[in-house]
Symmetry: C2
Subunit: 345 residues, 2 copies
DNA sequence: CATCACTAGGAAACCGGTTTCCTAAGTCTA
DNA sequence: TAGACTTAGGAAACCGGTTTCCTAGTGATG
């Protein structure tokens, strides 16, 4: 028993295949009686239309692609992206779209020739739209996609004059929230740990947000307390040691960390030095990894709603697919402050 | 300028479309000269064949589906699955397949009628094969897939008499490794914390593996020290408190935790009680979350190579797709013991 | 009763490839 | 040089839907 097709149904129902197709699409020109009859036969024969044939006829794949760097094995970004996937799926599923995930390691995309996914996914019609991590972005990629007028949405930091759609976490306001919280709790001399440093958009946004909050309260960062470096545990530990080695009056009374790794390192170094948290020193951090609530003391975090990020990216993409004429749009997803004991004084 | 098709190329090259198709597939019956000529024109006209048309003609989607429960937002399983995705992609990409991710929340699959993905993905031909998390599995699903002779591979624990392909982490041997390590370090009275309890396959495998190692060294679990409960931080904390409340001679000298959450809880409770780790008490745990190396002391972990899990699952699926006649196969991925300070005595 | 508008449904072209089958020309052999 | 065999490439059917266009039949209207 090979696969049942629309022709088998047409034959069994004694109607034309075009009629069956119209029943499938609930066309108005088919009588209720015929519809019922044909549908009964479909059910009886256990028929499911081939989506590939539909795709060819409709000239649409009903697929969207997600382009991310899957080659990072144990990166802390993993659970971030996993939630994004869930968010995307929850939106496109309602539109009968499926999600195709494609690896695009940021290194391998050689600048000169077009990246592999352009043929594998875009030009051959495997997907109708693309959501891509901004780390994949290159000027060449943008040029190619624009030339094809292909709908896409970027996730993450977008260049200043964007001509395309993009969603990101509101890191600037996130930094503001963290700093404002610390100030409100009475901390006055804030330090910042981690990140590539000025020039890195993420760093600039986050530090900038903190600085804004400080300014609004008549304070500023002591530049020596803003310490840039790869945002990992070792860095957090090292920088915290350096901060604690400063003369007492120059030491910060609170630290904002670039992510939970740096926060773990900072926390460990503070413990090792016998500094009491949150009394002597407050620690707050961007991101909220699953284990962050269980440190000692639990860490005050800025939680990124990455599921929502996926939701919004998918919504924007679906809009661009259905209405290509609309102009590009940028959105920021607010981050939420989760106050815990590490700043509770 | 609408999309270039095979007909355009045929016209431009002055050959039949069948010839162009043969060039695309590098057929032997086409002369090198013709191939070169046609390929030049393809390049010149910037032609990419429509994969949807190919799919229809070849009766194959060149897609595999991954069915997981995406509705769990912040679950600790997230980074687990993310790595699996990467592993799968790395294999199927080489076969020119793409990966379609589909949400199948384990709750929503009502027992009676066939789950949504059967129509959305399988019967309509959107994918040629399926990798699914074992939590999605139901007898009904298996029946339907078997009836269609549809290739699929399960990830995670498989029932005893499996008739289908499955891959899992070798939890039994993992438990053995953890327990053997503790014994080797001189710990003698082991406890186990977390898991749903006897009957849950994961629990049985892990505890069973530990028990085997004990037996091999002439030891056994004191049944009162095997404590089942939802594997989270609160449970780890509570059970550790209970263990430490036992009379001194009944207390364990080492604890094996079901996952990093329980380990965090256990660690916190031990600290709170002033127990010194690893001297008085050893702590080892299944799983190795990104932050586990940075606890105080760093946790001895059993690292699951979930990327490899994805790789093997994908390999098995590709084999089943290309050679459906082969019989089902089960594989176990070895887990790796990472010794850190929490058991270093 | 003749004409018209409207309705339900059918025939055929189409989407863009693949595959089978066939033929004309060239090569080999006797 | 005739007949058999090989080879390169073309024509057409096919994959399974969708869509356009057309027609037969019905009811309404003057």
């Amino acid at each position: 028993m090979s696969k049942i097709t629309i022709n088998d149904i047409a034959k069994a129902a004694g109607v034309a295949k075009s009629t069956v197709s119209k029943v499938l699409n609930d066309a108005a020109s088919i009588s209720d009686e015929t519809k019922r009859k044909v549908r009964d036969i479909m059910k009886e024969m256990n028929y499911t239309p081939s989506s590939i044939a539909t795709q060819l006829a409709r000239q649409s794949s009903f697929n969207v692609g997600l382009l991310i760097d899957l080659s990072r094995k144990d990166d802390f970004l993993n659970h971030f992206f996993y939630a994004i996937i869930g968010g995307i799926e929850s939106v496109i599923g309602k539109h009968q779209y499926e999600l195709t995930i494609c690896n695009a390691s940021s290194e391998s995309s050689s600048q000169q020739d077009s990246p592999a996914f352009m043929n594998r996914l875009v030009r051959n019609g495997k997907v109708d739209g693309l959501i891509m991590d901004s780390s994949i972005w290159t000027a060449e990629t943008e040029r190619l996609l624009a030339e094809l007028q292909f709908p896409y949405v970027l996730i993450g930091d977008a260049p200043a004059e964007v001509t395309y759609s993009a969603v990101d976490i509101d890191n600037e306001n996130g930094g503001r929230l963290l700093a404002a919280h610390l100030i409100e709790r009475g901390y006055r001399r804030l330090a910042f740990i981690g990140g590539e440093g000025a020039g890195e958009p993420l760093f600039d946004r986050r530090v900038g947000g903190c600085a804004n909050a400080l300014r609004e309260h008549g304070l500023t960062f002591d530049p020596r307390l803003v310490m840039a470096g790869t945002a990992n545990e070792a860095t957090g530990r090292l920088f915290m040691e350096q901060l604690l080695a400063l003369p007492a009056e120059e030491q910060p009374d609170a630290v904002i960390c670039m992510n939970n790794y740096t926060a773990f390192g900072a926390l460990a170094a503070a413990h090792a030095a016998g500094v009491s948290i949150p009394t002597q020193l407050g620690i707050a951090t961007f991101d909220d990894y699953p284990l962050a609530p269980y440190t000692n003391p639990p860490l005050t975090c800025l939680k990124m709603d990455t599921f929502e990020l996926g939701v919004q990216a998918a919504q924007m993409l679906m809009t661009r697919i259905s209405e290509p004429a609309l102009s590009a749009e940028q959105r920021l997803i607010p981050a939420a402050l989760i106050t815990r004991a590490s700043t509770d004084r």
